[in-house]
């Protein structure tokens, strides 16, 4: 019986091994990473991710869509801050530079939410 279905067995086994290898490749590239990433949610609820691990120690400025006015945000190696916002209380600016995961910078006035995440600690949330 084995001889009769030998080629089928070899074929199916090969396909299963290929599938397994494909899964391993997929999860390796999309699984855990040690990069610190900034998730920036703008006033349109569009999320932009910036890999802060790849930033240099020299801060560069980016613009984020705000509800009333765009925010100026500074990004550098594993750190981020709001440089300018038109909000009246300036809480987001006063927060200063954040380099801790899951400690959000929030501008309620302009509806911008910035949070750092990292797959190094694997936490879903930090309180």
């Amino acid at each position: 019986m084995f001889k009769k279905y030998k080629r089928d067995i070899i074929l199916i086994s090969s396909l299963l091994i290929i599938s397994l290898l494909a899964c391993l490749v997929y999860f390796n590239f999309n699984g855990s990473s040690t990069n610190l990433v900034a998730n920036i949610t703008d006033s349109n609820n569009v999320v932009t991710q910036i890999d802060l691990e790849k930033e240099t120690d020299t801060e560069r400025e980016i613009t984020v869509d705000g509800l009333h006015e765009d925010l100026k945000v500074g990004v550098k190696h594993n750190a981020i801050r709001v440089i300018y916002s038109s909000c009246p209380h300036q809480d987001c600016v006063k927060m200063g530079t954040v380099s801790i995961t899951n400690k959000p910078i929030v501008c309620l006035y302009n509806k911008v939410y910035i949070v750092l995440i990292s797959n190094a600690d694997g936490n879903d949330i930090n309180i």
Binding site: I12, L15, Y113, I127
Partner: protein, 316 residues
């Protein structure tokens, strides 16, 4: 020669086995209650995010003590009226719960703390201590005021104090959302209200990993609620003393006894209330209340965990 059917079947089988499973994760951030609310749903295809947003928006308007909205009698309306105000049943229920919470916490939770809260909010913004006479006057107002209820959802403040439901609203609304999600059989979610009121379903069947800032540790949890209060959220320092947004309604003080308190239980409303109340109590008192109510608690002082319920397993 292999048959064409076999080759076709093999190709289809390969395609099936190697196709990447795409995750159907939905996220949205909204900004109610002067803070943020992030909602994450994991592989839940039928989540009506707009309906959930509408539920939250409704409570946001009802519980707003600083703004009026056309056609809505809300907290602002009650605060600015000397007579009975007819309110929506939802607001009536929260107010009733607030009064119950005041009794349960022996007054450490007090919904009539509005003026005192505002004074300290301004102090934090200006980084200047408020006038002690103002604090004394506001404590007197609180002590001489009460909330009165009548049938047909009528509410009135007797006295000069004002309402502020900041210590209960997020937790209460998250409780509402938790019940709503249960009716829709939605179980895979994490909803975070300002990092202080959190409800957890599960993460594709698994626990969530909850890190604790400043102590380099965390715990796993699912299908529960977490309430957190921390002086790190909003504070300023004068002469080495930290003043935060957590106000003692008896003394008017904004100096907490602890750095952070984390409370875990199924009831999101109680978690919101008690995480704040516990910041004003000694650890021994916290443990007594926690044991009586089946809360699991973590207390942090000077960036160290000074108490942890034995059932909470930490990972580093």
């Amino acid at each position: 020669m292999y048959s064409k059917q076999r080759i076709l079947m093999s190709f289809l089988l390969t395609l099936f086995l190697t196709s990447c499973g795409s995750s159907n994760n939905i996220s949205k951030t909204i900004y109610p209650f002067s803070t943020y609310l992030t909602m994450n749903f994991y592989n839940e295809g039928d989540v009506d995010i707009d309906e959930i947003t509408n539920i939250v928006d409704e409570y946001d308007k009802l519980c707003d003590p600083y703004n009026s909205y056309e056609g809505i009698n809300n907290l602002y309306t009650i605060n600015n009226s000397s007579d009975f105000v007819k309110v929506d049943a939802k607001l009536y229920d929260i107010l009733k719960m607030g009064i119950d919470a005041q009794a349960k916490t022996n007054g450490y939770f007090n919904p009539l703390i509005g003026n005192l809260s505002l004074t300290w909010k301004e102090a934090i913004e200006n980084k200047t201590l408020p006038n002690e006479d103002v604090i004394s006057k506001e404590i007197l107002e609180i002590n001489n005021s009460s909330l009165e209820f009548k049938d047909d959802y009528m509410v009135k403040i007797n006295g000069d104090a004002n309402l502020d439901l900041g210590g209960i609203t997020k937790g209460y609304v998250l409780s509402i959302l938790k019940d709503y999600l249960a009716t829709k059989n939605i179980t895979k979610y994490l909803i975070n209200g300002g990092n202080s009121s959190i409800i957890l379903g599960n993460k594709n069947g698994e626990d969530f990993k909850i890190g604790i800032n400043n102590v380099g540790a965390g715990f796993k949890a699912k299908e529960t609620s977490i309430g957190t209060s921390s002086v790190d959220e909003q504070y300023f320092e004068v002469d080495g003393v930290t003043y935060s947004h957590i106000i003692n309604p008896f003394t008017g003080s904004a100096v907490s006894k602890h750095e952070t308190v984390v409370v875990i239980n199924d009831n999101a409303t109680l978690m919101d209330i008690y995480s704040t109340v516990f910041m004003m109590l000694d650890t021994e008192e916290i443990i007594k209340i926690a044991e009586k109510n089946s809360f699991k608690v973590i207390v942090i002082d000077n960036k160290q965990i000074t108490y942890k319920d034995s059932e909470i397993e930490l990972y580093v």
